[in-house]
């Protein structure tokens, strides 16, 4: 193995021998790209012409006034093509795939966002595309499945395991060990074996690079705190990377689900239910039992209910560089409502976790401060979940009528 990518004990590459050569090839391609002064330029120019980077930083004037605390700024990853920061990662990996001369991509998806982003990238680059999706997620996220298929991807339901995101990852690996010569596995977050955590963070660092410059331009100084939700950790690492060497507090917000005591959550870095382990190819904090079997997770946000977390974040937690908090499902809905009504923004349920913590802390900060929240995605894809969460009776009527039409 060329390189195993450790972050003070977290990370590594716990991979079947059959994949070692593929990983070596990937590490090599990635290193060459990173060292090629044109590559980042090619990447940013693709992102600015195909997506709409730089995405803006929006000053949340009404929320600022309401909390009477710091100026609140929001980094608008929701404005990316396909509606989330996921686009940054997939387009970057797409460029690498082109460099490696491969013709097919596979990906796992839970919420469906990464699947749609990958299918989009594949259409754009002319790659064949297969998306693995746990059957449970596939049922929940049908709208995203619809778009993946329309974009030309094959969506394969994963019927094994708990039939959710982690099982889709396992299945994607199984595909990969069979087709690694032609195929690249586009992992969706800063997890998995090296070089994925580094590589995904590298592409997502475009968020932080832009954001730092933008907030300096807008506010004339650094924010006191930066907030991001943490599923696998890619959007958080993306924005944090811009402020890593600055005197800026970095706050990652995990899915608190029904409460950290309830067992129904997906908090790996601020609950007692997680421990260090090795799975899906890397070492990090996992929600697992004492035998090492992975636990069920829960979050209102499909994109946050993953059992593992980026090894880079595990390291940053232990190093004390990033603070982790949890937001409950209920708090998330409240923050979402508030943000919609005050600012006309619709954060994804995932992103709304970051808003929760920012709103909790805003009143305790001074008006000299400013804070920055990463709005990793837009919420309008979550309409089925959000409408259910708010139990909107008119929505239910609409769906019932639609269904009646289909029965006829």
């Amino acid at each position: 193995m060329i390189n195993r990518g450790y972050y003070e004990g977290f990370g590594g590459a716990y991979i079947p021998e059959i994949l070692v050569a593929t990983f070596d090839e990937l590490v090599d391609a990635f290193q060459k790209a990173k060292n090629d002064p044109h590559f980042w330029q090619e990447y940013t120019s693709l992102m600015s012409s195909f997506s709409c980077r730089p995405t803006p930083v929006t000053f949340a004037e009404n929320l600022t006034r309401m909390f009477k605390g710091p100026r609140i700024y929001i980094k608008r990853e929701d404005l990316n093509h396909t509606g989330a920061h996921k686009a940054n990662n997939v387009m970057g990996q797409g460029l690498l795939v082109k460099r490696m001369g491969k013709k097919r991509v596979i990906a796992e998806t839970g919420a469906g966002q990464h699947g749609v982003a990958t299918a989009t990238m594949a259409a754009r680059f002319g790659f064949e595309c297969t998306i693995y999706m746990g059957e449970v997620d596939l049922e929940r996220q049908r709208p995203n499945v619809f778009w993946m298929e329309r974009l030309g991807a094959r969506v394969v339901p994963v019927l094994d395991g708990t039939r959710i995101l982690k099982d889709a990852i396992n299945e994607a690996f199984r595909d990969w060990v069979t087709h690694m010569d032609t195929t690249h596995y586009v992992l969706g977050t800063a997890c998995g074996p090296h070089p994925f955590p580094e590589m995904v963070s590298y592409f997502q660092s475009i968020i932080g690079k832009e954001a730092r410059k933008q907030i300096m331009d807008l506010d004339g100084r650094l924010p006191s705190r930066v907030y991001a939700c943490v599923g696998g950790g890619s959007n958080a690492l993306g924005i944090f990377s811009g402020f890593m060497d600055d005197p800026v507090a970095l706050v990652g917000v995990e899915a608190g689900g029904k409460g950290l005591d309830s067992g129904e959550h997906a908090s790996r870095l601020c609950s007692n239910d997680a421990r260090i382990g090795v799975a899906q190819g890397y070492k990090t904090y996992f929600l697992q039992n004492s035998d090492g079997q992975m636990k069920k997770t829960h979050s209102i946000a499909a994109g946050l209910d993953y059992v593992g977390v980026s090894p880079i974040l595990s390291h940053l937690k232990e190093a004390g560089r990033v603070r982790f908090e949890a937001a409950s499902d209920e708090e998330v809905l409240n923050a979402l409502s508030l943000t919609m009504q005050k600012e006309g923004l619709i954060p994804a349920l995932e992103s709304a976790h970051a808003f929760v913590q920012a709103f909790k802390e805003a009143p305790t900060l001074s008006s000299e401060d400013s804070i920055l929240i990463n709005q990793s995605g837009r919420g309008d894809k979550d309409i089925f979940t959000i409408a259910d969460a708010f139990t909107d009776p008119k929505w239910r009527e609409f769906i019932k009528k639609k269904a009646e039409g289909y029965h006829a």
Partner: protein
């Protein structure tokens, strides 16, 4: 020692057979009967897989056996107790097979100590390449256990040699790309891969992934030392049941 045992057996037989079962599948009791039948039928070695919730390197058949075992309440504690009973009952070498997290959570040292005490001979950990196995290698050595590492067709020659340098007992050659249980073509390509493996090490070679019948075993005869019947073992159990006639005629059918 495992290696010398294998060499000795190979002195008597043209090829050895290693089978694979998932502990707790279909149940511990039935597992015991399966082992009994297999040992009676003349199996030479057995892999005892401790089920894991994320068996990333296993194909669908073994994957489902892992899940079923866990769903039936197979804990690591139960698995090791069972393995101890088996190892003390039957006189062939048993190896643990599992994913690294199982060992890691149990405690590497505690795990190895247990194996040594119980009489298991070694372990196969498919998601632990030697680079990640520094502690594991040291501790296995401390307890005179065999860490069995894996060759794959995509492994370059230099790397074959360095893997072999870490392996004890034998080396497990993955027959091809893909996960267990898919079709392997037993052809010249496989032959030249085996030759590469041979050149890389003096250790005995086991070959697995897709070995399913007498023809496959015949092909491997005198090319490798051990034919590994993994998925096909589980399929047999699924199909014939624990007490099935074919189960007892196992080795005869294959050799």
């Amino acid at each position: 020692m495992l290696e010398s045992h294998i060499r000795a057996e190979r002195g008597k037989k043209e090829i050895l057979l290693m089978t694979h079962i998932v502990l707790g599948y279909p149940s511990f009791e039935e597992g015991f009967q399966i082992i009994e039948a297999m040992v009676e039928a003349g199996v030479d070695l057995m892999e005892l897989q401790i089920p894991f919730s994320e068996p990333i390197a296993d194909g669908p058949v073994i994957l489902r056996a892992n899940q079923a075992a866990l769903a039936n309440g197979a804990t690591v504690e139960k698995c090791v107790d069972f393995a101890q009973r088996v190892a003390r009952t039957f006189d062939i070498p048993f190896l643990f097979m599992s994913y690294y997290n199982i060992l890691f959570q149990y405690g590497l040292d505690r795990f190895a100590a247990f194996m040594a005490r119980a009489g298991l001979k070694g372990a196969i950990v498919p998601d632990l390449p030697p680079e990640e196995g520094e502690d594991y290698l040291r501790i296995m050595a401390d307890h005179r256990l065999a860490p069995v590492f894996i060759f794959s067709p995509s492994t370059p020659d230099t790397r074959l040699r360095s893997i072999a340098a870490c392996s004890k007992g034998f080396v497990y050659c993955v027959a091809r790309k893909g996960v267990t249980g898919s079709d392997t073509r037993f052809t010249g390509e496989l032959e030249s891969y085996i030759e590469r493996c041979r050149r890389a090490t003096h250790l005995p070679l086991a070959l697995g992934f897709g070995v399913k019948d007498k023809r496959d075993v015949d092909f491997l005869r005198s090319k490798v030392d051990i034919a590994v019947i993994g998925t096909q073992t589980i399929r047999l159990v699924d199909k014939e049941g624990v007490g099935g006639r074919r189960m007892r005629r196992w080795r005869l059918g294959l050799i």
